[in-house]
């Protein structure tokens, strides 16, 4: 898929673990893992909002469009 999820990059920048993020955004570890590995087919605005709030970033920092 040409949409790349850079969640791991942002987590590394903020030095935040997956467990910590999971607790903050109230999304299960397995779902965050699906999102991190790029297996997710869609992201809810509410989830994106929670992640941006927890990582103090913009949606563009997490999602990136790259031509295949």
């Amino acid at each position: 898929m040409p949409i790349i999820v850079n969640l791991d990059v942002m987590m590394a920048k903020r030095k935040m673990s997956l467990n910590e993020l999971s607790e903050k955004v109230e999304v299960t570890l397995s779902n965050l893992s699906i999102l991190k590995t790029g297996k997710a087919k869609a992201v809810r605005f509410s989830t994106l909002e929670a992640i941006c709030k927890a990582l103090d970033c913009q949606p563009g920092d997490i999602l990136e469009f790259r031509e295949e």
């Binding site: 999304v27 779902n31 965050l32 699906i34 999102l35 297996k39 997710a40 087919k41 869609a42 992201v43 809810r44 989830t47």
Partner: protein
């Protein structure tokens, strides 16, 4: 009545129908073998009040051909019921759209189409034989329901396609974070 309670009940009914059809098919097969190898008079009552003695007297080859046809049709009917049982076994109302259920519905539509087409073929063939003065009205009653099977095949095909789309939507829903 709730669907959770209805499904096991339907499963029991489908088992009963499946066993019934299998017994009928077995009866015809055994009667056929008896009529061919032991006693030709068995062709007068092949089970389910099927009398093909006049056809056996007219032409033995046609008798073999027609009875094989009928046996295959009944085996297909049994296979359709077996698919229904499999669907009830694998259907879970929490996540109903699965590849397994889809493939059983699709197989059912193919089996129903084959049953309908074979029934049409057998009916046409029996009508052609009737022109020679052989009374096969008994058989024509026996292979009735041709149009119904074709209609069922079309409906099941549509349902299988809806199911296929359902699987995609369910998968998308599961992968929406």
């Amino acid at each position: 009545m709730k669907a959770e309670k209805t499904l096991p009940l339907l499963q029991v009914f489908s088992w009963i129908i499946y066993i019934g059809i299998s017994i009928k098919t077995g009866t015809i097969i055994i009667s056929y073998l008896v009529s061919v190898f032991i006693n030709p008079q068995a062709s007068a009552d092949l089970g389910l009040s099927l009398d093909l003695s006049s056809l056996m007297e007219f032409n033995l080859l046609y008798y073999h051909f027609m009875l094989s046809w009928v046996i295959v049709i009944w085996m297909l009917k049994a296979s359709i019921m077996y698919q229904v049982i499999q669907i009830f076994n694998k259907l879970k109302l929490v996540q109903p759209f699965t590849e397994e259920v889809y493939s059983h519905i699709y197989k059912m539509s193919q089996l129903a189409l084959s049953t309908g087409l074979l029934s049409y073929g057998a009916y046409t063939f029996s009508r052609w034989i009737s022109k020679f003065g052989v009374d096969l009205s008994n058989l024509q009653e026996f292979i009735s329901g041709r149009a119904e099977f074709l209609f069922m095949a079309a409906i099941l095909f549509v349902i299988s396609q809806v199911f296929k789309r359902g699987i995609e939507i369910q998968s998308e829903n599961e992968l929406t974070i």
